[in-house]
């Protein structure tokens, strides 16, 4: 049996489409974990990235945090948090957020910092407040890069959120971990396919969001 046969067997089994271990439930759980982690990471990463980028300071500290964040193994962190904190969503959220903050933070900082200085100078010279300079001049131009940071973070969260199942939570990781344990490879392949599919959907959503919010003037010249 090859992978396609496994996948076909998994998705055509009607038992997999309902109940607490059904695809809709697991999918919803996975999306919920991912969105929560992305939201927390964005709440931390975006403001810090915007401010440091706007004032052009703290770049070295950011690079350090980013390297440290990327070097931490998510799985190891999960086990550590589980031992410290016990069951629950928190030990899962911490490694996901740690994983997602560096790309958001560093890309946002770079995006704002690399905005052409002359419109920024013009904006100040015509009497815009610093907040207006940031949100009306720098952010609209930096938006494509900021989106790319968020997108990278989102994809990493979606694929890593499978580890939630390791500490007895739900999500699509459930199929992979249970499948491996039960030597049920239909389940493993099905779960992995769903995770990959969700990652692609995430990509498509970011592409659409970028099309809708980035000005044509920035899109074509950038």
């Amino acid at each position: 049996m090859n992978v396609l046969n496994f996948a076909h067997a998994f998705f055509s089994d009607s038992a997999h489409w309902h109940g607490y271990d059904g695809i809709p439930t697991r999918f919803a759980e996975h999306v919920t974990y991912s969105l929560e982690a992305l939201l927390i990471a964005a709440v931390i990463g975006l403001p810090v990235g915007l401010l440091t980028g706007h004032y052009g300071r703290g770049g070295n500290a950011l690079a350090l945090i980013a390297t440290a964040g990327r070097a931490l193994p998510s799985f190891g962190l999960l086990v550590l948090m589980f031992i410290w904190i016990g069951f629950g969503l928190l030990p899962v959220m911490i490694p996901l957020v740690v994983l997602a903050v560096p790309p958001i933070l560093v890309t946002t900082y770079e995006a704002v910092r690399s905005v052409d200085p002359s419109p920024v100078d013009a904006a100040r010279g015509m009497g815009m407040t610093e907040a207006r300079v940031l949100f009306q001049v720098e952010v609209p131009v930096a938006l494509p890069l900021i989106f790319s940071g968020l997108r990278t973070a989102a994809i990493q969260i979606v694929s890593t959120a499978t580890i939630a199942a390791y500490v007895s939570l739900g999500g699509l990781g459930r199929y992979i971990i249970d499948g491996l344990y039960q030597k049920n490879y239909e389940k493993v392949v099905g779960g992995a396919t769903l995770v990959a599919g969700l990652a692609l959907v995430t990509l498509a959503l970011f592409w659409a969001a970028s099309r809708l919010t980035v000005s044509p003037g920035v899109r074509r010249s950038g």
Partner: protein
């Protein structure tokens, strides 16, 4: 009036950008700050809208220290144009121009109506309104920059090397446009450039700054050219300041000769009566110049246009300067300049010699005027 009063700008590393500079910038005129790089001209300009804060001294706007009003209120009352236009690439041309009216709380509709008005004023096609900056040429972008600075109708306009990034032909167009707009609007303009020709062309008064931010001379351009304060100013003005100075003398007083001007269908009698002149200027039936010819090479009633000598570049007495007239005479193979009216019809000719006399007369008038002013 903007009064710059003993202003010094010293940076933390000890560099002095501007050194005890005092300038009285007249209202409703163009004041140009010019000098080599490192002379503090841009720093001086940026101190007027507080983009840079002076270390010592003060700047007064209509008698009041500019630090007495909130910085953004001050800046919104002064148009600001910078070298690369600094347009907002995410906004359409119309919305770029509407920026300051929007900051001042006008509705989007009002601000856009005002922006459309300004596009026309600076010579931008209304079809460009919905475009984005990347779709415009450098010259058009700079026009948008000027329109954006004028949008809130500020009494003061600060321009920091606005035309130095465009090619010479476009630059000339932008300079002419600025002078035209200034004629209509009468703003108080402070204009920074490193190009002395631009300074002389645009400035009502020109402040020449030397490296280290000290004032070398502050005078109207004609005075700068006729009486440079020292060798630094003289060097900065360049080698041909004598010729350039002629731009400030009108050609209106030149005595034109009409006798050497003959129509192409002149009869033998007319040609015979003009045979004294070394050269005759032949015109077409409308009176437009065709070219020069020696009198004995002309045959009555049938001019061979191919055998005429080129007449160079004509000047318009009254609107052109002695410099243009002299240029016409130097370019003409006969040494005579052709004067035409606004329609291009020949109104007379003038020799290099006569132009030379006019130049001498103009110089002595200036000298007398200067003597009278000095009370001698």
């Amino acid at each position: 009036m903007i009064r710059i009063d003993a202003v010094t700008k010293r940076y933390p590393d000890g560099t002095v950008a501007v050194d005890r500079l005092s300038l009285d910038i007249p209202d409703r005129a163009i004041t140009v700050l010019v000098g080599p790089s490192g002379c503090g001209k841009t720093t001086t300009l940026r101190m007027i809208n507080r983009m840079v804060e002076p270390s010592e001294g003060s700047i007064l706007l209509d008698g009041q220290d500019i630090r007495r009003q909130p910085v953004n209120t001050l800046r919104r009352s002064m148009g600001y144009v910078i070298q690369n236009a600094g347009l907002f690439q995410h906004r359409t041309i119309l919305d770029n121009i509407a920026t300051v009216p929007r900051l001042l709380g006008r509705s989007k509709q009002q601000a856009r109506a005002r922006a459309a008005e300004l596009m026309e004023r600076v010579g931008l096609d209304s079809a460009l309104a919905r475009r984005y900056p990347y779709q415009l040429s450098g010259g058009q972008q700079q026009r948008v920059g000027v329109a954006r600075a004028l949008a809130a109708d500020p009494p003061v306009l600060l321009m920091d090397e606005p035309f130095s990034a465009v090619d010479p032909i476009v630059r000339k167009g932008l300079q002419d446009e600025l002078l035209r707009i200034q004629d209509e609007l009468g703003k108080t303009i402070v204009f920074v450039t490193h190009d002395i020709d631009e300074a002389i062309k645009l400035g009502t008064k020109v402040a020449v700054l030397r490296t280290g931010g000290r004032l070398a001379q502050f005078a109207p351009p004609a005075e700068l050219l006729s009486a440079p304060a020292d060798s630094f100013v003289e060097d900065f003005l360049g080698a041909d300041r004598g010729i350039r100075r002629l731009s400030f003398f009108p050609s209106a007083g030149l005595e034109l000769q009409t006798a050497p001007v003959v129509p192409a269908d002149a009869d033998a009698a007319l040609l015979a009566s003009r045979a004294e002149a070394p050269y005759l200027l032949v015109t077409d039936p409308d009176g437009r110049p065709l070219g020069w010819s020696e009198p004995d090479r002309l045959t009555a009633g049938a001019v061979d246009r191919d055998r005429l000598l080129d007449f160079g570049r004509p000047f318009v007495p009254g609107s052109d300067s002695l410099r243009t007239a002299l240029d016409g005479a130097v370019l003409s193979p006969t040494g005579w300049a052709v004067a035409v009216d606004g329609e291009g019809r020949a109104v007379g000719v003038v020799s290099q010699q006569v132009i030379g006399e006019a130049i001498r007369a103009a110089h002595s008038r200036v000298a007398e005027h200067a003597d009278a002013k000095a009370g001698r």
